[in-house]
Point group: C2
Amino acid sequence: MENKLSIYNSLSHKKELFKPINPPFVGLYVCGPTVYSDSHLGHARPFITFDILFRYLKYLGYKVRYVRNITDVGHLENEATEEGEDKIAKKAHLENLEPMEVVQKYMNSFHYNMAQLNVSLPSIEPQASGHIIEQQQLIAKILKNGFAYEKNGSVYFDIEEYSKKYKYGKLSGRVLDELLENTRELEGSKEKKNSFDFALWKKATPDHIMRWPSEWSEGFPGWHMECSAMSVKYLGNKFDIHGGGMDLMFPHHECEIAQNIAATGEESVNYWMHNNMITINGQKMARSLGNFITLNDLFKSYNPMVIRFFILQAHYRSTLDFSDEALKAAEKGLNKIFSAMKIMPKLKVTDSSNKDYVKALKLRIDLAMDDDLSTPQAIAHIFDGVRLINSVNEGHLSIDDTDFKILNEIFFKFVIDILGLKPEIFKSTDDQLDEKLIELLINIRLEARTKKDFSTSDAIRNQLLRLGIILNDTKEGTSWERS
Amino acid sequence: MENKLSIYNSLSHKKELFKPINPPFVGLYVCGPTVYSDSHLGHARPFITFDILFRYLKYLGYKVRYVRNITDVGHLENEATEEGEDKIAKKAHLENLEPMEVVQKYMNSFHYNMAQLNVSLPSIEPQASGHIIEQQQLIAKILKNGFAYEKNGSVYFDIEEYSKKYKYGKLSGRVLDELLENTRELEGSKEKKNSFDFALWKKATPDHIMRWPSEWSEGFPGWHMECSAMSVKYLGNKFDIHGGGMDLMFPHHECEIAQNIAATGEESVNYWMHNNMITINGQKMARSLGNFITLNDLFKSYNPMVIRFFILQAHYRSTLDFSDEALKAAEKGLNKIFSAMKIMPKLKVTDSSNKDYVKALKLRIDLAMDDDLSTPQAIAHIFDGVRLINSVNEGHLSIDDTDFKILNEIFFKFVIDILGLKPEIFKSTDDQLDEKLIELLINIRLEARTKKDFSTSDAIRNQLLRLGIILNDTKEGTSWERS
């Protein structure tokens, strides 16, 4: 099986041709959410980015096992010092719930938001708290290999020892001296040999709710353990792609790499992929800056498909700035695509062809996607397709049957299946009733006009306008669109 | 906090006033599905039954923690002998998937079907495979207390030993001699002291995929362990209600009781509740009889709300026979209720009252629900409400503002919130567009009739009919309903 897909590998810092270990199978692991609050805008980007990868790999013919985890234990408040309450236990305390009720509540909310964004369900969605044994087994291996030490019931990864044999920091490019410099200031745990060491297992303090027995203490796994343990459990010791947000590169992914190598002597992942961050009006998004926005709030103003489209208009490795103007522009662009898709089935097909142009268009979209998933380039070509459809519709250009089929593939296969942009017009049976009722109203209006009953025809047009339906009268008849 | 809710306790074999251990909190555990195939009709009944209990308890003012598990390991093919492949591993083998991919696939499908049936999400939905440590801890306790024995790496519950101190079989009423008689014929495991003993931990055979380390062997928990371990983990050693289908009473729930008592010396559950089974055209539903129907197939012919309503028309402890005629009758009944709900907001409110009747109606519904959740009785009273609404609408009866408010509570609070019957007309914004478009068409038709343009007015009526919308002209104006 051959493909021309290149992806940027964060580990080698360059674009590489994607070669799966065992084609047609592809193993893909992506770091999922820590489910202690409603999903925010920052969650939309990684899950849409890797949804595109998942969909595109399937389009190329691969059988993808896509594992995306749920972090429901071990993610402490203060990531740098690895101290403080568990994020979920803290929320449970605040909401007066059992931690697993918090997990369920926000996991449901996450799933709901992802469905709104038309993000595909992963093949397996393992929870960290459900894989304590697997994490303990991995910790035991690392201890046995001499790259970790136990202190007062907690187990820490020994970066100094690891660095004698392997290179720590090769993903993020951080060097040990620099780490030492940076972390010396922090309080850190007194139990660590070096302040940059990180916890594999933490002994639970008496008030810590989420805890399990182990050979070291009653406690809980360190945050980085779960992804090492669960990715390997479901994808094998060696798998193809690991993805996540750029903010996870250090320390999370760096620690994952070290853990896996310390346990097996080998890298587990062939390609590391990272999406860039979202800014809001040029600023970093943060609770403290007050520009933090949940998806639920965002969806009050914008259709989730607009958000999805907006995210795809930028390359996943570029920063992306959110603003109302930018979103309104995206909404307009998306509506143009959807309007073209509505016109398309009714296009007149002739013998005269634009074959080369349409064929080239399809090719250019494939090339764009093959080039490290360049959705912005692909979308630019789709707009060329929109212009073509409109020109044919207006009679300026003509297409033959072959062109028509390629256009169909571009819009139905590419826009809907791969970019995952679901036009409302194709949604549900209920929406079809809407459409049929609107068509009925258009016909009644037409008849009224034929009878020169303009008061009725204008009334229908105005009333529809108030319901958000815009009628466009052309020579060919009346079309409609949502405002 | 006081209530008048009586529930039938399968353990005491009688109706009892429900007294929670720690009001206003109520702990509710229900056995969830084994996720190795699409949900079938048999799954609809328990989850709707306990959804009603969950909703009604909340209506009474309780704060309910509702735990409903996912069985994803340990449920072997041959339940009687506790031999054969794990149901999920077998399916994984057939579908060429990793067992957890099978789990994810059918868990997603289950969740989707439950959402279609408007079954509420539980507070916590723990997976058996995610609670291996908790199950191992419980097994260790039972072993320590002398009610289990290890043989070749497997651990079995010692029913003979247990029966010296406690009574085994008190839920199902089975006695030991009878069990001995029945199970002597079966192959069973040679390792058991008595053929009726059951596995707490099974050593994995070399080809068994799903396995975890333990002090006894690399293996997996027996099917009954998970519910004992997870109910107590999330609801405490002593909790209020445990529900499930009557088919689970023996051996599953009987074993759960024995496990909990063997571990702690005490019953964990105060009230055991069991829903009765579904038959199809008078026959038991079974794959072998070829009358097995998945919810996905059923929903092709019937709206999920019709299925829900049909199930609620029978008391949960009665058997329920499915047939096309019965479902069609349910559909008709449900439409009557929904039509009345559509008329209701437009009812004329006068000074003249039927207060006593309407008040009594509300009271009778509460009494029915308090009587072991008698949804059939409650629904009968709701039909009295439907007749009242229609009579008021037709001008035969009149209601005042107080009556109107009570009627609203009956229909909006009771039908929608407690019975969970969602009328399509109140569904989504898209549906509201439908309605508005239909209202617009009705107005255009009215105007056409005023102008004596009967060809237009008839055309609108006929075209709407073809879209499934029936117009009814009355003195008060034109109403509509879906056919």
